[in-house]
Symmetry: C2
Subunit: 199 residues, 2 copies
């Protein structure tokens, strides 16, 4: 039984349903909303509605955008023959931050994960194949996370694209920059030795 007005309970429940927010945090957040100036709270609500209604997937690369085609895909200065495949829009942001990469992206919105009942049809894989089939793409850089599911997805896609005239590459594994050999895990160290390069 609760001792708050029902709409406050509802607000607390809504916050508690978000990932990583427990009931105590949800209470604190709900009370914070109540203590906000009216226009700020309404602005928060409006932003949620607006974000939900205007943001969707880019028709080319499936990254999130509020336009039909996202900024990267519509930029003529970028190299659209190279496609970096990532699992998540956040990974696009991470790669863009490096300012090293001038190609385009493809966002899978997930990875193949039999444990979680996510198969190849549940991620944006057909859209990637369509891009390859329609020509122009020369290199696919697999940039899924270096964990079991990311690896599996990368290998699956590489095999899927074998019949096409496209080079499929993978991000390099190794010791992180600024990392410490002593504390590197065995798997990373093995891959770093395996992938050693000429100085």
């Amino acid at each position: 039984m609760s001792f708050f007005p029902s709409v406050l309970d509802e607000l607390i429940e809504r916050f508690a349903s978000l990932p990583g927010i427990g009931i105590k945090s949800a209470q604190r957040l709900a009370f914070h909303i109540l203590s906000m100036p009216e226009n700020e709270a309404v602005g928060f609500a409006d932003t949620i509605t607006k974000a939900k209604s205007t943001i969707h997937c880019c028709t080319v690369c499936q990254n999130l955008t509020d336009k039909e085609v996202c900024g990267v895909c519509s930029d003529p200065r970028r190299d659209h023959s190279t496609v970096c495949v990532v699992a998540d829009p956040k990974d696009v942001a991470a790669i863009e931050r490096t300012r090293e990469y001038n190609g385009s992206f493809h966002v899978l919105h997930g990875v193949i994960s039999p444990m979680n009942n996510i198969g190849p049809d549940d991620i944006k894989l057909n859209e990637l194949v369509d891009r390859v089939v329609s020509g122009d793409v020369k290199e696919i850089i697999m940039a899924t996370n270096p964990d079991t599911e990311g690896e599996t997805t990368a290998k699956y896609i590489a095999r899927l694209l074998k019949p096409f005239d496209v080079k499929v590459t993978r991000l390099a594994y190794g010791i992180p920059v600024g990392g410490n050999l002593e504390f590197a895990d065995d798997a990373t160290l093995s891959r770093a030795i395996e992938g050693r390069t000429l100085l």
Copy 2:
């Protein structure tokens, strides 16, 4: 510089402005909102607006309510001559959960805190004095937190109400039930000895 659509950045900023939410959590929450079904996201936004517009302070006890007078204050079965004074609506909920208390409440919405520039006029203290002046109140139970500011506020209120014919009491201090003497802090243990009762 950000690589997300601007409305998504705005949503992330809104979440990041909430207490205890860092930028990474804010991103995760914003992406969660985008992955929600449309009606759930709109429902979230509506709940924020509705909570903000319908919830206000009870005209008697200043607890949060969506009615003019809250459920406790309008309940004729409760003892309105005993008023438990708390700092926060969450404290009302905590005391109500015990099902031990049948009096009414008064919510200060804060404690006196010179460090944070919060004086007696910044909390709902005048409203409490008005309740005492208008008669009927026989006992005030101070239930502010047992920290410096809560203590100061309790003592300040006790002195303020001295001229009136009202008993001012304080919640008991002591070892928490299920607690361990060995791990009790000195201050708590001192207060437990001082406040010992006859078996």
